[in-house]
Symmetry: C2
Subunit: 606 residues, 2 copies
């Protein structure tokens, strides 16, 4: 095998490996960073935690709303999961909690088994968190993190764009103050259209200004603060507190104008207290309905989280361990399930804020959890009059920034198969929902990959005059003779292209009646699996039937080692040459009539 295999193996890399951690600290990264924890790190972590807490309170309420759950569930999902991640996670700055896309997926999965507002709906959300947590942890222990590779970048970006559109559309009903449902885009638009007569003007009077204000906060506040003399970093972090301003102002507006009595929906009473102890369902019927969405939530959540974590870790030359990340996120989701929460993962915006605010260890997450806990204990009465429309505005502004309309054009120019996978994901997600969207994207991507893998690169080569180099006959002026065919195979021989190899070689042979020698130039063949070997054997036997000899040249060392463990080399009707040049020279002279001399060929006399 290659020398690189041990390098690329699934061991915990970088950050952890430098200390050669034992099994305990591999599975409990807290044992590593906890050893060097001190006062200065504590201060940094505390500052970051306060800032993230302020940002997370409205977010967690809003995403619970998006998931179709009572707002307090969003707070529950922002306490114990953060503590669990602090213990088991490997990223030093990832901020875990409810996120938009996973909330939408939760709404879609729970909505398929129960109506919003019922106890079964909440039970389904809790069970999704538990299933997802167990799946993530199992994938981590089995080191199956590589399965997330099935989600290509174009599929992920297509899914995020389509989810952003779906989420923003789903929140319009709260801005308009009407009731409307639907899992797909046409359903949502239809629902909105038919409810448009019932629009609540007071709600609109809260919702539209809140949305515009939040858009301005996102685009215009930072430059304004910089002009006022703040440093760009401080301005950036302060701008993230914009939603808190919107929350405070709209609460005051509701109280001042008594809007709750005029049809503006408000959050209402949020139960004060500690997160409850909850138990996920063990009903096989419910689990049977939820395991596929739970798996998709797990994979999407993992991919989103690990991308953020890697981006941030690289900025400080730290590393994360993807398989341990699975375990960390699994622990978070299990903690969420048992404390009445719903599926969580690492969020992009809040992790960046955490990083920028100076968080140095996962302890910052635990301090954030304490902040949210205190908010749950003491602040919730103040949120009674918070309009739902404000939360909806928060969501709309957050998710519209995820919508990326430039990618399709870029992909179209760069790679048609990637464009196809992207558009399949966008289209299916909008028209058939989030679950089928992910499945369609993975399916199309894999189908196109297999299609390309089944027709790899190969070229017929000839000798460049007066050199020992061999180049593609279609691209270069090279020397060939009718009784020798040299084929350069530019790919490892695996079962996905084994059939192609037989077809390709035998077709080229069938076209050349004068052929006596076939040379396969194997310099780019990194591996030959059992199917590839069988195809080589089949080609060999068929060439024997046709009176043609087959040679191999420039076979790599590890490949040769494995071939020597088989009978193939004994059965081979030709030789294995160290160099293509030698193979070609000998084959040229063996033309059966003594007409060719390699020296003449080299001098260009033939």
């Amino acid at each position: 095998m290659s020398d690189s295999v041990s390098d690329a193996a699934g061991e915990p890399p970088g950050l952890l490996r430098q200390h050669k951690p034992g099994l305990a600290s591999q599975y409990l990264p807290i044992l590593e960073w906890g050893r060097t924890y001190n006062g200065s790190v504590l201060t940094s972590d505390l500052v970051a935690a306060v800032i993230v807490t302020i940002m997370l309170i409205p977010q967690s309420l809003a995403y619970a709303l998006l998931a179709g759950l009572p707002p307090v569930v969003g707070l529950y999902a922002s306490i114990l999961p953060l503590v669990a991640y602090a213990i088991f996670g490997t990223s030093r700055t990832l901020a875990v909690g409810p996120v938009a896309v996973v909330s939408l997926m939760t709404a879609s999965a729970a909505g398929a088994v129960a109506a919003q507002g019922t106890a079964l709906y909440i039970e389904a959300a809790i069970t999704l968190a538990a299933l997802s947590g167990v799946m993530l942890a199992v994938l981590g222990f089995l080191r199956l993190g590589f399965l997330a590779n099935l989600l290509s970048h174009p599929v992920i970006s297509g899914f995020i764009t389509a989810s952003g559109i779906l989420i923003a559309t789903s929140q319009l009903k709260h801005i308009f103050g009407v009731s409307a449902g639907g899992d797909t885009w046409p359903q949502m638009l239809g629902g909105l259209a038919s409810a448009i007569d019932a629009v609540s003007l007071p709600t609109l009077a809260i919702g539209i200004p809140a949305t515009l204000f939040l858009f301005w906060v996102r685009k215009g506040l930072k430059p304004a603060l910089v002009k006022l003399g703040l440093s760009p970093r401080a301005a950036d972090i302060s701008a993230k507190a914009g939603p808190v301003v919107a929350v405070v102002c709209t609460i005051l507006a509701v109280i001042a104008f008594d809007l709750a009595q005029r049809g503006v929906n408000v959050v209402g009473a949020i139960p004060q207290g500690l997160p409850p102890f909850a138990l996920p369902s063990t009903d096989p019927g419910l689990i049977g309905q939820l395991w596929v969405p739970a798996l998709l939530i797990s994979i999407i959540g993992f991919v989103e989280s690990v991308s953020v974590a890697q981006t941030l870790a690289a900025k400080r030359r730290q590393r994360i361990a993807p398989n341990q990340e699975l375990i960390g996120l699994g622990a978070s989701n299990i903690a969420s399930a048992f404390s009445g929460g719903y599926p969580v993962t690492g969020g992009f915006a809040r992790s960046v804020v955490n990083f920028d605010a100076g968080a140095e260890t996962p302890a910052a997450g635990a301090y954030t959890a304490v902040g949210i806990l205190l908010a749950g204990l003491f602040l919730t009465p103040l949120l009674f009059n918070l309009p739902i429309a404000t939360l909806a505005a928060t969501i709309i502004v957050a998710v519209l920034s995820l919508v990326d309309l430039k990618t399709p054009g870029k992909l179209w120019r760069y790679s048609k198969p990637d464009f196809a996978a992207h558009m399949a994901t966008v289209g299916t997600t909008l028209l058939a929902g989030v679950e089928l969207g992910v499945i369609a994207g993975v399916g199309v991507g894999l189908l196109l990959f297999l299609w390309r893998a089944s027709r790899p690169h190969a070229a017929i080569v000839g000798r460049v005059p007066e050199t020992e180099h061999f180049r593609n006959v279609l691209r270069h002026q090279v020397i060939t003779v009718p009784h020798v065919l040299s084929i350069r195979i530019d790919e490892s021989l695996t079962y996905l292209n084994a059939r192609w190899l037989e077809e390709y070689v035998l077709e080229r042979v069938a076209e050349r009646p004068a052929l006596r020698h076939v040379i396969l130039l194997c310099s780019a063949v990194n591996e030959i699996d059992a199917s590839g070997l069988e195809s080589l054997e089949a080609i060999n036997h068929r060439l024997i039937d046709g009176g043609i000899r087959m040679h191999l040249s420039e076979v790599k060392g590890p490949v040769m080692d494995r071939l020597q463990r088989t009978h193939f080399l004994d059965e081979l009707n030709g030789r294995v040459y160290l160099s293509q040049d030698l193979a070609f020279s000998e084959a040229v002279e063996d033309d059966g009539k003594g007409r060719y001399q390699i020296a003449d060929l080299a001098r260009g006399m033939i």
Copy 2:
């Protein structure tokens, strides 16, 4: 794109391409070979047809029995399907009809929806043929033949071995003359064990000698005939008529000793006449239950058939067109459905006999169909007293030759992943049935492929002293410097390894605090898809954050062409070099302190 793509495209190759066929003769190969048909070819085809007919009569009865269908259905499946293949197929010598593995799969699928002997069971078998025919034809028109690549050689051989064991076991009840059922091996063995008290000794007296005789025919008859003066080829073909001898002798034994009255099951009355006109079911419920098995039957049947066809075509330097083969087999199965048959495909043994007997065109198949038709019209009364045990013996001897117990050892030595896929297929097929067996084999194979694809080959390279060559630092004595890291990537960059690339590069960077330059040597990168490009962009941005420059060297022409359509090269924090040597030389001298001179390095002075 590569120059090889047009070569490898799905056009009808070899045989057909030489004549530059139009669309009509691409889809109707009969128009090609029919043009040159003459008397000498007719004679060859007729001789082959007579021999194949004699071989096919007992086989078609036996395989119908294996499929749980009345024997006459086997005859029906051996008439029109052969004519359809003669019109649409591209192999000149493939003999289509009922085969063992597909018969077993039919029994398993039809048995899941109805009991053997009921009208619904027969309807299910007919519907399977229709579904399978439509699927094959659609796959052919969409040029999706490459999907058969998902079945690797180890999976196919595992499936065939396990099916052989299952089939032989399922026929033991006929040798013992008892009733027993079961879809899996444990069920079958259990059924046999509990029925052992009811063994019919007269049946055993037919079954055991018939089995032993047929084994001898397979192993010992040909040498015996050669000793008697026959040519090896004639001896070989004569030996294939062995089952006919067994059929005649056991029929005579039944008549002579009145065994039908003593508990020996016989074939009984076979309806005489033309194949009926049948209609497959259009019941959505039945189709819903049968489409997955029909798809598996299609793929397994196609893979078996195309392997045989390719082997035989290559012997005469002919070629087949795999996508047109799908259409040919699709037409065969549709013909089978509408004439009361069940799923068919190209059979190995009978195709070899057809080839050896001198068949030159698919017309031989049509003449065989006429032979079977005549047998159905006139011979069936003679088969009334044919013991079921004789047919079972025919099947057992035929399928046990498919059982290959050497493959697991070979695979274990050559490739552990292939061994795993093989054993998963064998185990699942024996313990959970044929359908799950195929699915498990494909699943394990794909999982292992994705796992390997997610950790491709790469190596850190250094310069071989006094040359311009760069080699793996772990395998060679090479020159490196602490502030330059050269990584050779031995694989195309696709979405399956994009995440690996980021991890691999950034981990190597994190280990080297003095680093200033990273050079990616791309000589083996045949393709960079959109995910690979995004990973390169991400690496570039992270290296910029870390104050490190990234360069590319020896990027292939087609890859470079596509990169130039993006903004990547503008954003790249380094250069693209034509040669690794130049890249390395420039990077070495830029050490930030003027300490390194490439000339010194070349002289080995550092």
